[in-house]
């Protein structure tokens, strides 16, 4: 790879902290964080980059001047949606269908909600509108399913309405007409008119933003794009100016929700694509490292204070979300799959009406925080439970920079004691077990919905609390290997440094089996075009000989909506027979022996090409290093309460004690700056080139339960 400058910089804005990671051409890594500044996030970006420059012994200007690539994940679009502080946006849509966005197919009242919210059926409500009903214009026009114009566009009416809206202060215009995917003429014409009437306005049309069937999701996507557009453009402008003042000459590259990268101009046109890009980067980072891990099937677990986020990497490839939802609005945009549950260190424990102990989804968040923070929180949380059980160092600061107060934690947990749980320790152990099992259940759901066995995966953990929860979650679902991602607290930023390493291109392609020779030819053409597109995209970052391609087709029964991904090998002679056999076998594997109606008509629904890049020097972090002297010198121990063993004297290490090439035997706890790594009894931890891997090897009760379960289902 050609090196222009010496450093690659990634900056990720999170809810509390803005993380920066710098990687040098020779593979060295530095990271630092600064407080996120919600009023103007570019300030936090600058603070964070300055902090990392400090840790490298450079000035901000020197670091930026030597920057080769500046990667950036921003939460600006997400925050605008959460706080509803976007531009006043008008929606131009086909007359008679103005309400599509508020009808929301009826399901808007529960879209994206948790099951406890969905089941509380008397309390549903629709999200706050993004566009005021008065700013929705029914345009006189109609196109039908074939793209035929049934009613031609009444341009004068549209112009009058736009003039009125401009006078009222509308800054942004979303245009979404029925069947614009079959014929975009009217949308394009309306855009021209809108720009004539208000040349400064941000204008989005649905046939460009989300060209998919379904007016509701296409409209919401277009409206959200227009709503966040002006603010995102302003932010980008401000950031570029600010960084240029400090000598940054490399272009800023922005990460997208699907894990791709885009330049500023692309993001300004389609800011929607940056929604939720932060969590995506972590999953991308895991995928990029997957070649060097024990498995290319990885469950990515980001454990934070309030939520537990899960992504999936199968065979080294990131899984995407077919049905993304943002604030109860269903959107259509390519997005990495992230499933969340309200569980984390801040989750509050309580007794329900029947006296059963429950944990979450309510959270003490960062403020007031767990009881042990001493910031006014009195509700017992999972962090308090871990502290009482000895997992956290009562004398050292936690991630938030606060030295925990053990007595406050004990006092909070005391409120939950009962006949069945007479001591504070009993309460703490129960809380931890419930929290860990909820996380495990989410992992199970995510894999189950994909028809795969979680035990065929390794767990990749990151987030501040990841190394603390990781092995226990793994035990819960029978995973035997846990990888602790490097710099877990700022791993999303690290992940960005890897985001260019895969690219997916997909095209809808409908063909019923058996395939005629003509259709096989079309299939060949389509996959070649996609392959060329993927190779071209990736070649911007690496030489094309390092790109490997995986071609697949979506297959389903012709009446179904959901497709199954089946590898495509066009060199095979009896393509129809082989595709059918592969589909039937995969269907049975996913859904069981009697799940398939074999006489049903089978069809191909899409062609997909995924390009990935083989590991190279960039991933040198994973290379084997020579082992040093076998075991670590343990100088300190502390009693820690593990579910499998009860209280046990546990070796306590500082991060600096756990060096590359070493192996530690559980029970051991390693305290890093703001992070706590747990190696439970029966687990071994090894550190290889800054990457820690835990393996279940001993005879812990949980491991026994796992082998028992495995035996039963095989």
């Amino acid at each position: 790879m050609e090196v222009v400058g010496r450093y690659r910089i990634a900056v990720d804005i999170g809810g509390t902290f803005t993380d920066s990671v710098v990687e040098s051409a020779d593979g060295q890594v530095w990271s630092a964080k600064a407080r996120t500044t919600p009023d103007d996030p570019s300030r936090g970006v600058l603070d964070s980059v300055r902090a990392v420059a400090d840790s490298m012994g450079l000035t901000l200007g020197r670091l930026l001047a030597a920057c080769q690539t500046f990667l950036h994940g921003s939460t600006v679009a997400t925050n605008i949606m959460i706080t509803r502080t976007g531009a006043r946006t008008a929606l131009l849509t086909t007359r008679g269908h103005e309400d599509a966005i508020r009808i929301g197919r009826g399901r808007q009242r529960v879209a994206g909600l948790s099951e406890s919210e969905i089941t509380h059926i008397t309390q549903h409500s629709k999200p706050r509108p993004i566009v005021h009903p008065r700013d929705v214009v029914g345009v006189k026009e109609r196109v039908d399913v074939d793209g035929t114009v049934v009613v031609s566009l009444d341009e004068e009416h549209a112009r009058r309405e736009l003039t009125r809206l401009a006078a009222q202060g509308v800054q942004s215009v979303a245009i979404s007409l029925l069947w614009s995917i079959s014929n975009p003429d009217h949308e394009q014409r309306l855009r021209d008119i809108a720009l004539e009437v208000m040349p400064e306005a941000f204008v989005s049309i649905s046939s460009e933003v989300a060209p998919v069937l379904g007016e509701y999701e296409r409209t919401t996507s277009t409206v959200v794009n227009a709503y966040v557009g002006p603010a995102v453009a302003r932010y980008i402008g401000r950031l570029e100016l600010l960084l240029a003042e400090f000598e940054l000459t490399a272009p800023i590259v922005y990460t997208l929700a699907d894990g791709g990268l885009a330049d500023a101009e692309t993001v300004k046109r389609r800011p929607l694509a940056t929604l939720d890009s932060g969590p995506a980067a972590g999953v991308l980072g895991v995928a990029a490292l997957s070649d060097t891990l024990t498995s290319r099937n990885l469950l990515c677990s980001d454990v934070g204070g309030t939520t537990f986020d899960v992504g999936v990497v199968s065979s080294g490839v990131v899984e995407h979300d077919a049905y993304p939802v943002v604030d109860q609005y269903e959107l259509r945009l390519p997005k990495v799959l992230i499933k969340s549950v309200g569980a984390g260190g801040g989750s509050i424990a309580r007794l329900d009406a029947r006296g059963v102990l429950r944990v979450g989804p309510q959270s003490a968040s960062a403020s007031p925080g767990p009881a042990c923070y001493g910031l006014g929180g009195t509700a017992p949380t999972v962090t308090d439970a871990y502290l009482v059980l000895g997992f956290l160092d009562p004398s050292a600061p936690l991630a938030a920079g606060i030295v925990p107060n053990l007595e406050a934690a004990r006092a909070a947990l005391m409120a939950l004691t009962s006949d069945e749980r007479p001591s504070v320790v009993d309460v703490a152990a129960s809380i931890v077990r419930i929290a860990e099992s909820q996380m495990a259940d989410l992992l199970h759901r995510v894999t189950m919905e994909r028809g795969v066995d979680p035990r065929e995966f390794a767990l990749a953990v990151y987030g501040g609390a990841g190394p603390l929860f990781g092995p226990a979650i793994a035990d819960n679902i029978g995973i035997e290997t846990v990888h602790i991602m490097p710099n877990p607290g700022s791993f999303s930023a690290r992940g960005m440094l890897k985001t260019a390493l895969s690219w997916t291109a997909e095209s809808s392609f409908l063909a019923k089996l058996p395939l005629t020779d003509d259709r096989v030819g079309d299939l060949r053409d389509c996959s070649s075009e996609l392959a060329a597109e993927v190779t071209k995209t990736l070649s911007r970052h690496v030489s094309s000989d390092r790109v490997s391609l995986r071609v697949s087709v979506g297959m389903r029964f012709a009446l179904q909506s959901h497709s199954i991904d089946i590898p495509l090998d066009l060199s095979r002679a009896s393509l129809t027979t082989e595709l059918r056999a592969a589909f039937v076998a995969r269907y049975r594997q996913l859904y069981g022996p009697n799940s398939i109606y074999e006489p049903g008509t089978i069809e191909i629904s899409y062609v997909r090409v995924i390009g990935s890049v083989s590991a190279d020097q960039e991933n040198s972090v994973m290379q084997e290093a020579k082992p040093r002297n076998g075991n670590t010198q343990v100088t300190q121990t502390r009693p820690v309460y593990f579910a499998a063993t009860g209280w046990v004297q546990t070796s306590i290490l500082r991060e600096g004690d756990f060096l590359d090439g070493m192996t530690v035997t559980g029970p051991t706890i390693v305290h890093g700056p703001g992070e706590t790594l747990v190696v439970p009894p029966g687990w071994l931890g090894s550190s290889t080139n800054r990457l820690v891997t835990l393996r279940a090897s001993g005879r812990s009760r949980a491991a026994d339960a796992v082998s028992k379960r495995k035996g039963a289902t095989r």
Binding site: G106, R107, I118, T122, V145, V150, L178, L357, Y597, R709
Partner: protein, 696 residues
């Protein structure tokens, strides 16, 4: 004895398993009604066949699984074994109606029966005289789709091809039916594997104890909640205004008697079963009750319908419209007698919960009942046949403190969705002129009922005809009801216009008024009918909004103005329905209360027992003017449905109307009932016998 942490962990896991199975089955489904609309549900039952978990789909579909399992057990007895799967669509064997085909399976571990699982999809067509199987015109079960009593479709893991073939033979959509059948069977087999894994982990004894404890906890909680409600007796009625053959009106009646933690639901007085497909069997009666009580009582608890079912007694005479006996026709059971049953229970619970401060947040007026739908069928331009389901979407009932959900649909189907217009147009030769929230359709109240959806459909050339079967209720008498002084939502209607100049309507500004101006029209005064749509014909369908909550004159003026500005309420209705005049001020429109009832606003309603009323010494007491009264001494006034909701203009109400009961001292509205033809008496009654927790 299972420890309580394992209890919580495994309870969560089993709930997840039950929902996961539904997601997987829907993914395999071949019909938009399942994969896009969500017209399905799953259940996980104990070894006796008592429901421990209902899924988040259509609640009534899961609640009948217990009855289906009971039928399977009585049919197959000791021969039920590992690897078996059963199906039925017979309402007299526990299914809801012919199209809701149920599949259930036992779970055996080491030869021991440990659980049952079940799933129901709404199927596109299972035969009978009408495409879609909603059998308009059927006077008995023999004129409807074939009913299939429990069959063993999988025997010891082996699919029975003969039974499969017989089942598929009668359908107009056999391939979709087949793929769906296999999806349901596959889902049962996946559920069995997952449950077996749980049992591997905790053992059979703890698994059995776990389910027992969940059922026990839910039973106890329901009884505790009943105990805090006042003792008393509540009488309510609702009506089905067409039986599928003739526009006859049938009454369903419920007297609920509550004493301590006992609840008796007595349906005596309900009309005899009808010679039309609106009846439901015992299954529909039980489901209609449970689909209300389960979500209302199991808040923050598993939806254990098997436990809730043990917390009340039913009194009902066989041969009545919601407890019909064979060969009564039942193909429209779900959205008629079953839904009407739950409308009765919603009404009673809105009254009962209103007297208990801790349960007031659960008070909800009766909203859209799912009963304004249609099926279109015929041939596409390329000659291939189509059958397309067209679900209506109404508004939710208003809550204490919140408006009803606009275009939210039937509350007992939490994940229900209507397809996009583009999806519908891609599957049919139809063209939607509009689909919108219908102004003034939400019931008036201090908190307004959610708005219903109106759509207008025509044919797209070159296709020259399509058949439409419509089936609706509430065209003459509203099925929605207000709560505590709120008004019902608008009536539903299906109107056919002919000779319409479609392009000029599309290019113009008007809606129904424009259709009416330029063409002939005919109200499907039937509610249920089969019609042919030809060139220039337009079918207009209006779903009802939800009922309102509280006296509408107490509604915040700003909220009314917002409703007017956002098109939810017309200025005319703001005046007649809410007493607020909308005028143009210097800074834009303003609302002015025309009739002075504003002091109501100044009372902090959260301190009240009902909306504005207390109950002391056997009488109601108005919180506004302190007047004491009982139902006979309340002020009363009769209104037409069209007065309450101008969208009801298509119908004359068939002699029914609204009976508005108010405080004799200050006219604050106490209750809005329906009165029957020739009477001004309302059709509800409340007799509080003792002080509940919330009764002063």
């Amino acid at each position: 004895m299972i420890d309580d942490v394992t209890f919580e962990v495994m309870r969560h896991r089993l709930w997840e398993i039950n929902n996961e199975i539904g997601v997987l089955a829907a993914r395999m489904a071949a019909t938009p009604a399942v994969y896009e609309t969500g017209d399905y549900n799953t259940g996980l039952l104990d070894r006796h066949g008592r429901g421990v978990f209902s899924g988040v789909g259509v609640i009534r579909m899961a609640t009948v699984l217990d009855l289906v399992v009971a039928s399977v057990k009585s049919t197959f007895g000791e021969s039920i074994g590992p690897g078996d799967v059963f199906l039925t669509n017979d309402p007299f064997a526990g299914a809801l109606h012919a199209m809701d085909v149920a599949v259930v399976a036992p779970v055996f571990v080491s030869e021991a029966l440990v659980s049952w699982t079940g799933i129901v999809f709404h199927e596109p067509d299972v035969g009978g005289p009408t495409p879609g199987s909603w059998s308009v015109g059927a006077t008995d079960a023999y004129q409807e789709p074939p009913l299939i009593p429990p069959q063993r479709i999988v025997l010891r893991g082996v699919l029975q091809r003969d039974i499969e073939a017989a089942f598929l033979r009668n359908s107009r959509t056999p391939e979709a039916l087949a793929i769906n059948l296999h999806a349901k069977i596959g889902a049962q087999e996946l559920a069995r594997v997952r449950i077996s894994e749980v049992i591997e982990e905790i053992g059979i004894d703890d698994y059995v104890a776990l389910l027992e404890r969940i059922l026990h906890d839910v039973r106890s909680t329901v009884r505790e909640q009943l105990a805090v409600m006042p003792d008393g007796e509540w009488q309510v009625s609702t009506y089905i205004d067409h039986d599928g053959v003739t526009p006859a009106i049938y009454e369903l009646k419920l007297t609920a008697r509550k004493h301590a933690d006992r609840l008796v639901l007595d349906f005596t007085g309900t009309s005899p079963q009808a010679p039309g497909p609106i009846n439901c069997a015992w299954s529909g009666l039980v489901a209609g009750i449970l689909e209300v009580l389960v979500p209302l009582f199991c808040i923050d608890l598993p939806w254990s319908h098997g436990a809730v079912a043990e917390c009340f007694e039913i009194v009902s005479e066989p041969g009545t419209i919601n407890n019909a006996t064979h060969p009564a026709p039942t193909s429209m059971a779900t959205i008629n007698a079953c839904q009407s049953t739950s409308d009765l229970v919603w009404q009673v619970l809105a009254m009962m919960n209103g007297w208990v401060s801790s349960r007031r947040a659960e008070v909800i007026a009766v909203g859209y009942a799912g009963a304004n739908s249609g099926v279109s069928s015929g041939r596409l331009a390329n000659g291939s046949p189509f059958v397309l389901s067209l679900s209506g979407l109404g508004g939710g009932g208003a809550r204490f403190g919140h408006d009803g959900v606009d275009s939210g649909g039937n509350i007992i189907a939490p994940i229900f969705a209507i397809p996009n217009v583009e999806r519908l147009e891609s599957l049919s030769p139809l063209l939607w002129l509009w689909r919108r929230e219908l102004p003034d359709s939400g019931g008036a109240g201090e908190w307004r009922g959610g708005m219903g959806v109106e759509f207008a459909v025509t044919l797209r050339p070159p296709v020259e005809q399509a058949e439409v079967t419509v089936f609706s209720t509430s065209w003459a008498v509203p099925a929605t009801r207000g709560a505590h002084g709120g008004f019902p939502g608008g009536l539903q209607s299906n109107v056919f216009f002919s000779g319409v100049d479609v392009p000029s309507i599309l290019a113009g500004d008007g809606f129904a008024d424009a259709l009416q101006a330029g063409s002939a029209h005919e109200l499907v005064g039937a509610g249920k009918a089969r019609l042919i749509l030809g060139p220039g014909d337009v079918w207009l369908s209006e779903a009802s909004g939800g009922g309102g909550f509280g006296d509408p004159r107490a509604r915040d003026v700003q909220a009314i103005l917002d409703d007017v500005l956002s098109g939810r309420v017309t200025a005319a209705h703001a005046l007649t329905g809410y007493g607020v005049q909308i005028t143009n001020g210097p800074d834009g429109p303003v609302g002015v209360r025309a009739e002075e009832l504003s002091p109501l606003r100044e009372l902090e309603t959260s301190a009240l027992s009902g909306s504005f009323f207390d109950f002391t010494d056997g009488k109601y007491q108005c919180r506004r003017c302190s007047t004491r009264f009982d139902t006979p001494t309340a002020a009363r006034r009769s209104l037409s449905f069209a007065h309450a909701s101008p969208v009801s203009r298509w119908s004359d109400g068939a002699g029914f109307g609204l009976a508005v009961l108010s405080c004799p001292g200050c006219t604050a509205i106490f209750r809005v009932d329906v009165h029957r033809p020739g009477s001004t008496e309302g059709d509800t009654a409340e007799h509080l016998a003792s002080k509940g927790e919330g009764v002063a």
